[in-house]
């Protein structure tokens, strides 16, 4: 029987198993490996559909015609430029964005400031902020369609109590548009309020105390401390809200179906109509590409604003 002792040479000469070399990656290779799952997933669910959308927009592809897809170049885009409904729905979309985004911002800011006031039971207020946000868009659209109903709607009922004659809201393009904008502001201001409330809670109380000692009143404190420190939260809320405003579909779809005529139809509704109702995938894709480009432009502008601030 022999005994062996572990010498220094044994220890230094012993090599790790060959397979472990495969795991000895450079930093770059490790980074690629770690990022790969996310990159593949993003490619599958975002990059591929977007590319496919752009590709389809260069084809004439109507499922009702029974004809095979035919490459038509930029013909769908030329058609779009000459299409008055495209311009009307795009204008409606932009108008809804221009009205409801600042509207939701102001209402949301007000709600957030109210919810941030220290009092004993804050949870009922915060819960009531959450409810409109948690409601499905189509459900909100349905509720407000009843609210604004000419015969049994609560809005006309309230107006009549003040001696004002009720109106048929959804018969007039302007009134229908106003009703839709009000509904969107109600539905989305809670989201704005939640983000702004989160921003408000990151502002240290001591800053307001310092301002108190410095001699600044409440209004001055709001403009000199609250608003500048809320800017990052507001910009984030604006980015999300603007992008979703550009995609407005559910609420006008449930309230007016785009009518009267196409006066309250949005670009998203027109895309839906072309692709789902008319099965014209080529033209629908071209419209969708334009909406995508619009969203990207807005995001780029906001991101530039953030970067400038930094």
């Amino acid at each position: 029987m022999t005994t062996s002792t572990l010498t220094k040479t044994d220890r230094t000469d012993r090599q790790p198993p060959a397979w472990t070399k495969m795991l000895d990656l450079s930093d770059r290779a490790l980074a690629v490996l770690l990022l790969a799952p996310a990159a593949i997933l993003l490619s599958l669910i975002i990059v591929y559909p977007v590319m496919r959308l752009i590709y389809t927009s260069f084809f004439s592809l109507s499922l009702t015609s029974g004809l095979p897809a035919e490459f038509v170049g930029i013909e769908n885009y030329q058609l779009m430029i000459e299409d008055p409904v495209f311009w009307e729905t795009t204008w409606n979309t932009v108008l809804i964005t221009l009205i409801t985004v600042p509207g939701a911002l102001f209402v949301g800011l007000g709600l957030a400031l109210l919810a941030n006031i220290p009092f004993r039971r804050q949870w009922p207020v915060r819960l009531s902020l959450l409810i409109p946000w948690a409601l499905p868009l189509s459900f909100a659209g349905l509720i407000f369609a009843w609210f604004f109903h000419s015969e049994y709607g609560v809005v006309n009922d309230v107006l009549s109590r003040f001696g004002i004659e009720g109106v048929i809201w959804f018969n007039s393009p302007n009134l229908a548009f106003a009703a839709i904008c009000l509904t969107i502001v109600w539905k989305t201001s809670s989201f704005m309020a939640l983000i702004i409330l989160a921003g408000l809670q990151t502002i240290p109380r001591s800053l307001y105390e310092a301002a108190d000692v410095d001699g600044a009143g409440r209004i001055r404190q709001f403009f000199e401390i609250t608003l500048p420190l809320l800017k990052p939260a507001i910009v984030v809320a604006l980015i999300f809200r603007t992008i979703t405003a550009l995609q407005t579909f559910d609420i006008p779809y449930m309230m007016t179906g785009g009518g009267p005529g196409t006066s309250t139809a949005t670009l998203a509704m027109y895309i839906h109509q072309n692709t789902v109702s008319f099965l014209d995938l080529g033209y629908g894709s071209a419209l969708a590409v334009v909406m995508f480009a619009l969203s990207m432009c807005v995001t780029a502008v906001y991101l530039r604003i953030i970067r400038t601030k930094e």
Binding site: P204, S206, L207, E209, A210, A211, D212, V213, D214, G215, A216, G217, R220, E224, I225, P228, L229
Partner: protein
């Protein structure tokens, strides 16, 4: 500059009394430090002086004005906060000039004041930076600068050094002291650090459980603590306490050691016969003289060499004592030594009330 008076000042949250009727007069130009453990009411008292906390009862006077109902901006005070409370989106210049802008001080005058304060604090080169671009010490100076430009009647400091590391704390402490010597404005300063209190204060107010335990100069609270709490709170390492009984003119310890009361007290020795007492001895008051006047017998437990001196922890009949010894002294652990005492530095407290005797 102005004096500050607190008259039976109280603060309660429901049934919970945080500040229990404080009476204090702070002289014009005095540097007063409120010190005490967490929850003793020192910050609450300061915030009541600032007007950031309402008063449940009593009065606060700044100068000869009762300011109970005045808003902070109307009290003519400036405050340096624990977290500095600098406006993160404003430059140093804007931070320092904010109060002047709000009060409508002319731009040129404001600029002069900001530059003067910045020069005084050595932050002139930082005026165009934002707080996020400054170190902790620089932020602290900016916070002080913001207070200085106001030229208020009273400065309030709420634990301004607690976010700084030990070295920087020492530096800024010296700067605050120099600042007070330069501008001479009344300062009320809150800290839980007794070293800060001792080094900065003209007078120290030691708070405990919402009450003032003792008010005095640093020398007074160090040399004549009026209670076991003050004795233990002021000084580092803390004062040693050992239970004893007074019998036949001697302080008798549990281990049998006896100290003649006549060497410690004067006048009323016999009045205390039979009384249980707590003997307080500061670690630095043990002596190594060849023939000390009085001695205690104790066993060495732990030796801690600190370079400048050596801390030796002893066991004396179940009581643990700490002695600050010369740096070259290295007693053997387990050895029993005779510890010399300077009798004039021995403190006696009543065991029941924990108040000083004599």
């Amino acid at each position: 500059m102005a004096s500050v008076s607190l008259r039976k000042l109280e603060k309660s949250y429901g049934a919970l009394r945080i500040v229990k009727g404080i009476d204090l007069d702070i002289k014009d130009g005095e540097f007063v430090v409120f010190v005490g453990p967490s929850g003793c009411g020192k910050s609450t008292t300061l915030r009541m002086v600032a007007g950031l906390e309402s008063i449940s009862d009593g009065e606060i006077l700044i100068g000869d004005r009762v300011v109970n109902k005045l808003a902070p901006r109307e009290r003519d005070i400036a405050m340096v906060f624990q977290d500095y409370a600098l406006y993160p989106h404003k430059t140093v210049r804007e931070n320092m000039g904010f109060s002047l802008k709000v009060r409508g001080v002319a731009v040129k005058d404001a600029e002069t004041r900001i530059n003067e304060a910045a020069e005084m604090l050595g932050i002139a080169h930082l005026l165009d930076r934002r707080p996020g671009q400054l170190s902790g010490g620089q932020r602290q100076r900016v916070a002080m600068g913001r207070a200085i430009v106001r030229r208020p009647q009273v400065f309030l400091f709420d634990e301004p050094l607690s976010n700084l590391d030990a070295k920087l704390r020492g530096q800024v402490r010296t700067e605050i002291k120099r600042l007070h010597q330069q501008i001479g404005t009344t300062i009320i300063y809150v800290t839980h650090d007794q070293v800060e209190a001792m080094t900065l204060a003209d007078r120290i107010v030691i708070l405990r459980g919402g009450d003032i335990e003792q008010v005095g100069t640093p020398d007074e609270v160090y040399n004549k603590p009026q209670s076991v709490f003050v004795g233990g709170f002021v000084g580092s390492p803390a004062m040693n306490f050992a239970k004893a009984k007074i019998e036949a003119g001697h302080v008798c310890f549990a281990n049998g050691d006896r100290l003649p009361l006549s060497a410690i007290q004067t006048g009323k020795e016999t009045a205390f016969d039979g009384r249980d007492v707590i003997v307080g001895i500061r670690p630095e008051h043990f002596v190594t003289a060849a023939d000390p006047a009085i001695t205690l017998t104790a066993t060495v437990q732990v030796v801690e060499p600190l370079g400048s001196d050596t801390l030796v922890h002893f066991d004396m009949g179940g009581e643990t004592l700490t002695a600050r010894m010369p740096p070259d002294m290295r007693p053997t652990v387990g050895a029993t030594l005779r510890l010399g005492l300077d009798p004039s530095k021995v403190h006696l407290f009543d065991a029941a009330s924990e108040r000083a005797i004599g």
